[in-house]
């Protein structure tokens, strides 16, 4: 069953790597117009006839659930029923997609033109497409792609159109709506828009969830959304959001559908369109409002080469088989199904686990280019590397990555030197090679700059480079945490190492995809991988390094170094500077300037700590562990710190004995 395949995919040796097909190849040979106008007749769920967008809206507004909430809201607010009903209808209007084949055809035409200029290949796994085609006919399908770029959902629809598969309806963030024309066009190509936050708005929630469920139950179209909630600016997978996932599973829990199939999709870009944009954003250069003109400026992009894209459609995961033995559906039968209810605890944790599983499946099937290995090495050698050394180490790292199950796209039969040099060429915006020495590009030196500007320039290139290293993190993260734990532990005794591992695991669970309940399992996996790569032996008395261990362990530790430093810095900052009245809003700029000062003074060499992403993750971890609390004073949320706890975290992260054991014990 699906759950079994889910596990087997975990074992890289069992994973059958499907054949990829380059969909641009055909496009380069034939007429784009013909392609855009071709007959499009996808197979549908159980031979359903597709329904008009308007009919769908009626079904939603007439549904028991929405009617019930309208009533309730009207009772509570004293508004007349028809006014609330009107509100609901406005919400729906704002939200709903208006999928139109003509718009899709327009996109098919325009995107073909664009894709052919900027990408070399768009490779899609054929088996995945076949599985998906099968799944669409049998069950409601939810497509869950990774999210790294604006391109993602256009690309998804483009691929499905190409293979004559039912076009998905896509949950998109409201920020697109700002872009008038594009927003409407996206809507007509199947996007529906949800507000970023609608916390207490019952009516909104009801209309929204009913809208999604109606489409799902009736199999109108595959639903597509991004588990990560938003584009990852760092290229690391983000901790999944579970709201929408819960909504799409509910029809199964309530017996309204026999099953729901979740299809993880991994979209790997060789070069991300937004690469430096993201780095600036993370450094606090404000994000350009997502406006049409902003996107059009991206025309500059058209003159660049962004390499290739790999899209891997994973094995559909059956919610039914995942839920087997975990969810007792009969508990859902004691209350009318249209009453809105908070998910039960067991459901919540099931949805959460599933979300993590899916994100891990996405990660596992990310196609990695040689460059991500090179970027990992360069970040551990900021001063640069000799080209030959870089080549040699990249080859070595390739071996390790493959041993850990990485899904590498390494060109066949090409000499290593060639592979490395062509990667360097593609990323010439980030690295330069001069006289056999490879180093990160640092701004344009001719312009006079302040020290701070220079620092930021450097940070941009470090963060851009990090976004590539981050793509390979999921391969190494568990062994890396173990490597650090072995280093930090007092002895090599297994339980001591485990304690350290578990501490780091907890601290970093906002940073990486580490499912809170999986510590033990992941520890075992880490041990297994380190043993497999010959880096350690697990003996009766503990976990010990081998002769071969040195380069592996130090690379792995190096991989986490900037994170460890960053988290320590945050602890230190909070301890020293946040004594009173630091508001949540001030937090990011304040840490940033704290770090800038330290770097300028030569006391800190870690640029990644300037990333607001890392700062926020660190804060989230500290909040989660109780070292920091939020206190609401008037309208302001301020941060209250527990200095002792911070102190001990800082020590432990740095590999020193914590001064306060008690605090750690709580983790």
């Amino acid at each position: 069953m699906a759950s079994a395949t889910l596990y087997s995919q975990r074992d890289p040796m069992l994973k059958k790597r499907d054949d990829f097909e380059d969909i641009l190849e055909e496009r380069r040979k034939s007429s784009d117009l013909k392609y855009a106008l071709r007959c499009y007749a996808p197979v549908l769920y159980k031979g359903l006839t597709p329904c008009k967008a308007n009919m769908l809206k009626n079904m939603v507004l007439q549904s028991d659930n929405v009617k019930y909430v309208i009533n309730q809201v009207s009772l509570e607010s004293g508004e007349a029923l028809d006014i609330v009903h009107e509100e609901a209808s406005v919400i729906l209007e704002e939200m709903a997609h208006r999928l139109q084949i003509s718009t899709v055809r327009f996109f098919a035409y325009a995107l073909t033109k664009a894709f052919k200029t900027i990408f070399q290949h768009i490779c899609v796994n054929m088996d995945g497409i076949q599985r998906l085609q099968q799944a669409i006919q049998e069950h409601p399908v939810v497509l869950l792609p990774s999210h790294r770029s604006y391109m993602d959902f256009l690309l998804m629809s483009y691929i499905l159109y190409t293979y004559d598969l039912a076009l998905p309806v896509i949950a998109a963030g409201m920020d697109f709506m700002g872009m008038k024309i594009i927003g409407e066009m996206l809507r007509m190509s199947g996007a529906f828009f949800i507000r970023r936050s609608f916390g207490g708005d019952k009516l909104y929630w009801a209309v929204f969830s009913e809208y999604v469920k109606t489409m799902l139950r009736n199999g109108f179209a595959p639903i597509e959304f991004f588990l990560e909630g938003t584009r990852s600016r760092t290229c690391k997978s983000l901790t999944p959001k579970t709201g929408l996932l819960n909504i799409v599973m509910e029809p199964f829990f309530k017996g309204e559908v026999f099953d729901v199939h979740l299809v993880p999709v991994s979209i790997s870009y060789e070069r991300i369109l937004e690469e430096t944009l993201y780095a600036r954003e993370l450094l606090g250069v404000p994000k350009p409002k997502e406006s049409t003109s902003g996107l059009l400026k991206a025309r500059r992009i058209l003159s660049e080469n962004y390499g290739s894209i790999h899209v891997y459609f994973g094995q559909p995961v059956s919610v039914r088989s995942l839920a087997q033995g975990t969810i007792n559906r009969s508990k859902y039968t004691l209350v009318p199904r249209h009453l809105p209810r908070k998910p039960m605890e067991e459901t919540q944790s099931f949805v959460n686990d599933t979300a993590y599983r899916i994100v891990r499946l996405q990660e596992d099937s990310m196609v990695l280019k040689p460059w991500v290995l090179m970027a990992s090495l360069l970040l551990q050698n900021l001063e640069g590397l000799e080209l030959s050394v870089l080549t040699e180490q990249t080859l070595w790292l390739r071996g390790l990555a493959q041993c850990y199950g990485a899904f590498m796209d390494w060109p066949d039969h090409a000499p290593a030197a060639k592979v490395v040099s062509s990667s360097l060429a593609l990323h010439k915006g980030l690295v330069c090679v001069s006289e056999g020495w490879v180093s990160l590009v640092v701004g344009e030196p001719q312009v006079p700059m302040t020290a701070e500007e220079a620092l930021f320039n450097r940070a941009v290139s470090v963060l851009s480079c990090a976004s590539y290293r981050n793509q390979v993190l999921h391969v190494f993260i568990r062994p890396a945490i173990l490597a650090v734990a072995m280093h930090n532990a007092d002895s090599s005794k297994k339980d001591e190492v485990y304690n350290c591992f578990s501490f780091l695991y907890t601290m970093f669970s906002n940073e990486f995809i580490l499912c809170p309940g999986d510590t033990v399992q992941d520890f075992d996996e880490a041990c297994y991988l380190l043993v497999k790569s010959g880096a350690v032996q697990t003996l009766q008395q503990g976990i010990v390094g081998t002769d071969r261990s040195q380069p592996i362990l130090s690379f792995l530790k190096g991989l986490l170094d900037s994170f460890l430093q960053g988290y320590q810095l945050v602890c230190r900052f909070l301890r020293e500077e946040a004594s009173d009245g630091l508001t949540e809003k001030q937090y990011v700029p304040a840490v940033r300037s704290f770090a800038v000062k330290l770097i300028l003074a030569g006391n800190l060499r870690c640029y990644e700590v300037l990333s607001s992403d890392m700062q926020k993750n660190a804060l989230a971890a500290l909040l989660r562990t109780g070292a920091v609390r939020k206190v609401k004073i008037a309208d302001q949320v301020t941060l209250k710190v527990n200095k002792m706890a911070l102190n001990s975290f800082e020590d432990t992260l740095g590999g020193h004995l914590p001064t306060q054991k008690a605090v750690l014990a709580r983790l």
Partner: protein, 666 residues
């Protein structure tokens, strides 16, 4: 008015009634099974052979020992490969069914010519373990003069009900690990009292046996029961003791089987209106013990609505209420401990049951719907308006098609039907997808005018849901088939096809989801478990209530290529039941729990609920002296599967089929 109608009018109605209801049943040449009001007929009429019900003591003389129903009636494929139904008892008897073979082979991938799986021809008494007799008990039993037997065929006949695994075992000649050691035939309540007393005294197990139509494994003996087991066959307690026309109730012995009860009452111008599909063979006591439901419950009610009074012999003594008031507020109704007790608390010996004058007029009907969804919506509306006819059943498309396969070659009613249907297809059904449409069959009862009015009301509602009236004959045909369908399983078993039915009750809003999910689950489970052929799954809504409906499933598959078809079948049924429960369906609407479903009891009625049931049983145990009590508790349970439980001081055992002693016994 009914009460004033003269006797010849009564007679006429009774005759008509007999024709309608029992027309397909066995002909009766009895003159003597009138109404007796003596204390115990056994005493009145001599000790043997006085009771001429349909069911002789030697049931195997008229009934199949390894299949359903009368020995002379069965489906077979004749030399030409055409299906026919043998015998003379039923409307369908002696007819050729030309389309059945094709349907059968296409549906199951079976081959009538090539793949046969015939049954062992006869019972091999040698294979049976010798009876485990309790000499002291036998001595006392003989002294009472109550008839009994140790013969192999009598014992095997009472070792089972009609679950697939039971019939399959018989056909394979494997038989059962444990069968009753003695069969007794009490003639009256007092006989039962004696038997239970003796059983208590000598530590013998008693299993009440009514019609033997149980479909829950309730009649099976615990395989490692070491005590002697007595099957208490109630078939000779088959009299109507008295009939009270003022209050419209009758006192009836619990062993009477449905067809005899209706026949006898019909002769007097009355009926009970309780017509479970098994009514030819199932008994009043069995109905009470399983909480049975009849197809016309909309007018007459289910068994719990029909019972006014009952007498029950328990290990602690006889229990009955002191009056026959129509409703009482005297604490929880103790009748409800017995209703559904499945033979675990005592033997029901006599029941006062409501009766009704035979309805003046009966009319069948049918409606065709474009699809099952529309049909369910219509039934829901009918229930909402509380205007359900005596019976209303909605079959899905698979059953509709199956109905076609049972078209006989010649027969006035059936020809009409086929002709009618042809016309229908041409004139009206255009636009209905033959692979979607489904049929509801209707039965109206009452005085003529009201029936016609009622009929119109129902057809009007149906029309709102796209339903088209499809004629009386279609309806009647559906109900006639009810009684022969049970014979079809035996035909399937001859050709590698296993089949079973199961039922549930479910709130209205979940009916469709439940039907769809259960069917899909079955299909998937079959595939996963290596069933090589597509299974047949079909369902129908057989009863409507204010708050929900009863849904009945048929499920069959070709088991060629499977090592252990029964086990596969059971796994699939198990999964289907899980699916039912997950979708808001009940563990059972009317079949009961037995051994088949006991593992879900706790989940179904909660720990506390189970405890309540248990304490009722404990009450029946409470006379036991302290030392014995502790002995009882530490005593190993006779089987994990079956809960045999001592119920009194003297350790007479009446079987407990519910799960609640499991924990205690282990």
């Amino acid at each position: 008015m009914a009460s004033n109608s003269n006797s010849s009018e009564r007679q006429r109605i009774a005759q008509q009634r007999l024709r309608i209801i029992a027309g397909h049943l066995q002909k009766h040449e009895d003159g003597e099974s009138g109404l007796i009001a003596t204390e115990c007929k056994a005493e009145a009429a001599g000790s043997n052979g006085a009771n001429k019900g349909t069911m002789p003591k030697k049931r195997q003389e008229v009934m199949k020992w390894n299949g359903w129903g009368y020995s002379d009636s069965k489906f077979l494929f004749n030399k030409k490969g055409q299906a026919e139904f043998t015998g003379k008892r039923y409307r369908l008897s002696g007819m050729i069914l030309p389309s059945l073979q094709e349907w059968f082979e296409n549906t199951f991938g079976a081959s009538v010519k090539q793949h046969k799986s015939p049954a062992t021809p006869a019972l091999n008494p040698g294979a049976l373990p010798p009876p485990n007799l309790n000499a002291a008990f036998l001595k006392d039993l003989k002294a009472t003069g109550i008839p009994f037997s140790h013969e192999a065929d009598d014992r095997v006949f009472r070792a089972h009900g009609h679950c697939l695994h039971e019939i399959f075992a018989l056909r394979e000649g494997r038989g059962f690990q444990r069968v009753p050691d003695t069969v007794v035939w009490p003639n009256c309540h007092n006989d039962v009292v004696k038997i239970v007393e003796m059983a208590c005294k000598h530590n013998v197990c008693v299993i009440p046996y009514g019609g033997g139509t149980s479909v829950t494994g309730a009649l099976e003996c615990p395989p490692n029961e070491t005590r002697s087991i007595v099957s208490l066959d109630t078939s000779q307690m088959n009299h109507i003791l008295w009939l009270d026309e003022k209050n419209l109730v009758a006192r009836i012995e619990a062993g009477i089987i449905g067809q005899d009860l209706e026949r006898l009452l019909n002769e007097r111008g009355y009926c009970t209106g309780h017509e479970p599909d098994s009514m030819e063979f199932s008994s009043l006591g069995g109905w009470v013990a399983t909480r049975a439901s009849g197809m016309k419950k909309n007018i007459y009610g289910n068994i719990e609505d029909l019972v006014v009074h009952m007498k029950v012999v328990t290990p602690r003594g006889v229990f009955e209420k002191s009056c026959q008031g129509p409703r009482m507020s005297t604490g929880p109704d103790i009748h409800h401990f017995i209703l559904g007790s499945e033979g675990t608390l005592g033997v029901v010996t006599e029941v006062t049951m409501k009766i009704r004058p035979i309805p003046e007029y009966q009319k069948y009907g049918s409606v065709v719907f474009p699809n099952f969804e529309a049909g369910v919506a219509c039934l829901r509306e009918v229930a909402k308006q509380r205007c359900a006819p005596a019976s209303i059943r909605l079959m899905d498309n698979e059953q509709f098609q199956f109905g076609h396969a049972l078209k006989p070659q010649v027969s006035s009613i059936f020809t009409n039907f086929v002709e009618g249907l042809k016309k229908f297809y041409i004139t009206k059904f255009k636009g209905f997808d033959p692979h979607q449409l489904c049929v509801a069959t209707l039965l109206f009862e009452g005085d003529r005018e009201r029936v016609l009015q009622h009929e119109k009301q129902v057809y009007d509602i149906a029309a709102k849901f796209g339903g088209l009236a499809a004629g009386e004959d279609n309806g009647q045909r559906g109900y006639i088939l009810t009684f022969v369908i049970a014979y079809l399983r035996d035909l399937g078993l001859e050709y590698y096809v296993v089949a079973e039915s199961f039922e549930t009750s479910v709130p209205w809003d979940r009916v469709l989801d439940l039907c769809r999910n259960v069917k899909e689950r079955i299909t998937r489970e079959c595939k996963e478990r290596g069933v090589q052929f597509q299974p047949l799954t079909s369902c129908r809504v057989t009863q409507t209530y204010d708050a929900g409906a009863c849904v009945y499933f048929y499920f069959a598959f070709n088991y060629r290529g499977l090592a252990d078809p029964v086990r596969t079948y059971e796994q699939v049924e198990h999964a289907a039941r899980d699916e039912i429960l997950s979708n808001g369906g009940s563990l059972s609407h009317h079949h009961g729990v037995g051994k088949l479903r006991k593992e879900w009891m706790k989940e179904s009625i909660s720990d506390v609920g189970l405890g309540m049931l248990k304490s009722v049983k404990d009450q029946l145990n409470s006379e036991r002296p302290k030392w014995l009590h502790s002995f009882q508790v530490s005593r190993p349970c006779v089987s994990r599967n079956v809960q045999a439980e001592c119920l009194s001081t003297t350790q007479q055992c009446i079987r407990l089929h519910l799960t609640h002693c499991k924990n205690r016994c282990q």
